[in-house]
């Protein structure tokens, strides 16, 4: 195994992990409130506002209609505006966060919607305010399902970073393209594939584990 191989792979891996962590965090900051707003502003819900709901749903759908590679290119000017460059990992974080946020919002919407209406009514009936219901009832009740949804989203981010890698974002995706594909480095190609598989397995395993832990705590029988 050559030095450059080790260095390239380690750099790629750490870049991918960094991109996933930062853009996942930003996407969660945008997607979580967005997903919750998409639920609670529906007709008859605790913060009913049909106009806002329709506008947000349309924006979410619009962003989700674009294939990831196109979204990345379209959002490059925005990346330049925010981080000052259209190249490298920093620039990629902007389109990845914005690309994943609507996907995450839809997944969170689905999880939050699973909370039985009766529980919301029970909270309303004791005089809870909408924000108290969101924080103390909707999110905790949906938590196992939210964790599973967020896990899926993180895996989608890995996929996104690989696409971003194709236009110079760095990470394992760009390694696979620049070295594995363009320079016929079979060893790097195989290594990136193996690492990506391991990474996804690890994330899925952790997500399942956390979700199961919460459920076990709530539903175990003495």
């Amino acid at each position: 195994m050559t030095e450059d191989f080790k260095m390239l792979i380690l750099k790629g891996l750490s870049e991918t992990i960094e991109m996933v962590a930062i853009s996942g965090f930003i996407a969660l900051l945008i997607g979580m409130p967005l997903g919750i707003i998409l639920v609670v502003t529906k007709k008859g819900h605790i913060l009913e506002h049909e106009k806002l709901n329709k506008v947000l749903a349309a924006v979410v759908n619009a962003i989700r209609s674009l294939p990831s590679i196109i979204l990345i290119v379209v959002l490059l000017p925005l990346a330049r505006l925010i981080v000052g460059t259209t190249l490298g990992m920093k620039a990629a974080i902007v389109p990845i966060s914005i690309g994943i946020a609507p996907f995450l919002a839809r997944i969170i919407e689905t999880s939050i919607e699973e909370v039985q209406w009766g529980k919301i009514e029970a909270a309303l009936a004791v005089g809870a305010k909408p924000f108290q219901i969101i924080l103390k009832v909707l999110i905790p009740e949906a938590l196992p399902s939210l964790v599973r949804g967020i896990t899926i989203s993180i895996i989608s981010i890995i996929e996104f970073t690989a696409v971003a890698g194709a236009i110079g974002a760095g990470g394992l995706g760009s390694l696979a393209i620049r070295f594995g594909y363009e320079r016929f480095r079979k060893d790097i190609m195989i290594a990136t594939v193996v690492l990506l598989i391991c990474l996804v397995q690890l994330i899925q395993f952790s997500g399942d584990h956390i979700s199961r832990y919460i459920n076990k705590k709530r539903y175990k029988f003495d």
Partner: protein, 259 residues
């Protein structure tokens, strides 16, 4: 204590309007246990949910204590709801919270101190006899225990009235009686007014002093439970009494029928 005047409720559906409550008038005295009985679809659930406006009445007024519930804006309604307990057929407990946290929830959102909440929760859990289950989650409880938590949660804010929306309908007969005993006990100890709806005549007969019969969204009969049992006037009341007699005769002489 509870005064319902000309209460109506109409649901608009694509197929047209459906009037589920038609000009309901009813008075419930303080400290009474009052039962409303009706067959499925008679509108009883909608009616009881109109009292704390989980369902918005189309017209009419509801006065509980000295407060006109139907006149209130959202903030006033939120405050008023703290004094109107409600328990549900499906319990509607929070699965993410322990028994303690479920009962503490109404107090937490009212902003009481931790110390006060702890005392109050202990007090109510004593009352409903669940002090050994504080750290259990709802999924670990039996149906009867779940409803006890529901009752404890409804009583946390020391309400003036307790509404019971088919609270025993999901329980077996024996558990039903233990819950009814508990309600009677609470009624006596706290002088709490209880309004319950049910489709089980047994329930009304067991704990209600007074009752009303609801039929297709209208109150067709009101009176003391004894008088309605002895002399049912409306069709629904007659049917209920007949079914009950048949059932009790059947249990003594299987296959028997009242002629």
């Amino acid at each position: 204590m509870i005064s319902i005047r000309n209460l109506s409720k109409t649901f608009s559906t694509p197929k047209g309007d459906i009037q589920v409550l038609k000009d309901i008038n009813l008075e419930v005295e303080k400290g009474d246990i009052f039962g409303i009985i009706g067959f499925s679809g008679a509108g009883k659930s909608t009616m009881i949910r109109c009292l704390n406006r989980l369902e918005e009445p189309t017209s009419g007024t509801v006065v509980i204590g000295d407060k006109n519930i139907t006149d209130m804006n959202k903030d006033e309604l939120r405050e008023a709801r703290k004094k109107i307990g409600i328990i549900f057929q499906d319990f509607n407990l929070f699965d993410s919270m322990t028994v303690y946290e479920n009962v503490a929830f109404p107090l937490e959102i009212s902003g009481y101190s931790k110390e006060k909440i702890k005392n109050r929760v202990g007090e109510i859990l004593d009352l409903v006899d669940l002090n050994d289950k504080v750290d259990s989650y709802p999924a670990q409880l039996s149906g009867g225990q779940k409803q006890r938590v529901g009752i404890a949660r409804a009583l946390a804010n020391k309400p003036d009235v307790l509404l019971s929306d088919e609270a025993t309908s999901a329980l077996d007969p024996q558990t039903t009686y233990s819950i009814l005993e508990l309600l009677r006990d609470i009624n006596k100890k706290l002088n709490l007014t209880i309004l319950l709806i049910t489709h089980e005549l047994d329930v009304v007969k067991y704990i209600c002093n007074n009752m009303a019969v609801i039929e297709e969204g209208k109150i067709v009969e009101v009176g003391s439970t004894d008088s309605i049992f002895l002399n049912p006037k409306s069709d629904t009341a007659k049917k209920f009494v007949k079914i009950m007699r048949n059932l009790s005769i059947n249990s003594h002489c299987p296959g028997g029928e009242v002629i």
